[in-house]
Amino acid sequence: MPPISRGFRGRRREDAPSDRVPPGQYVTDDFPVLSAGPTPHTPLDEWDLTITGEVDGLRRWTWDEFRALPSEPVTVDIHCVTKWSKLDSEWEGVSLDTLLEGVDTSAEYVVAFCDGGYTTNLPLDDLTEGKAWIAFAYDGEPLDPEHGGPARLLVPHLYFWKSAKWVRGLRLGATDEPGFWEQNGYHNYGDPWKEQRYWGD
């Protein structure tokens, strides 16, 4: 154990209910901005969202079409692998159940792909039944580009690197394809409650 820095507390909440804080996490009221690359600025009239791969037919929505879909408010706790957790964060988004409605597929896996080239992989089951959204608003405002706007994937039950910023689509497939960070040490699945941060955890 390194030497204790006398009087240092850090800027974290110490009053959070422990049953909401996964192991090894610290609660913050901030919303730290982390990014693997420059913030993209895709004009909305050039933006689209697609569902592709092993599906019966490509699904595609322009921004207007996407925003015309039914959406819902979402209040969730989010957990970043860099150890901060934020409780009761408020979003608005379109459920993946809505987007996947009527999609015929035998695929078990998904790769989310994004402006700027970021990718992340998940089992298809982790996106369905109310577990995931494409979020376009945070805290009552349109989602800021530095937080992933115009739209990001939101999958709060997994570490937040899976909630890919600047998402542009999902590619469904039969095989699991590790994404940007999963290829380089981060856990393939990423359950914060099992502290699955890195390979082999």
Partner: protein, 85 residues
């Protein structure tokens, strides 16, 4: 331009700890565009891990993830790395 962007030099301590020597003056050649420059001068982004990007074409040169006692480094975006003695 991203206000968050740093220089490779900001990771000098971590790079030294991983590689055992000063790395910011090593010259890397980008596998995307062929540009060469000092590691200290490339663009550094802090996401879940560190991503070092080419200042000319934004190609990811290196990724570093530190997980407790383990460190993972991806060099695929570097065609070559020249270390000076």
């Amino acid at each position: 331009m991203d206000a968050l962007m740093l220089d490779g030099n900001a990771a000098a301590g971590l790079l030294h700890e991983i590689f055992g020597s000063e790395m910011t003056t090593a010259v890397g050649t980008c596998d995307g565009c062929g540009a060469a420059g000092e590691v200290g001068a490339v663009r550094l982004y802090r996401g879940a891990g560190l991503a070092f990007r080419c200042p000319h074409c934004d190609n990811v040169l290196m990724k570093i993830v530190v997980g407790g006692e383990r460190v993972w480094v991806d060099f695929r975006g570097l065609r070559a790395l020249q270390l000076n003695s």
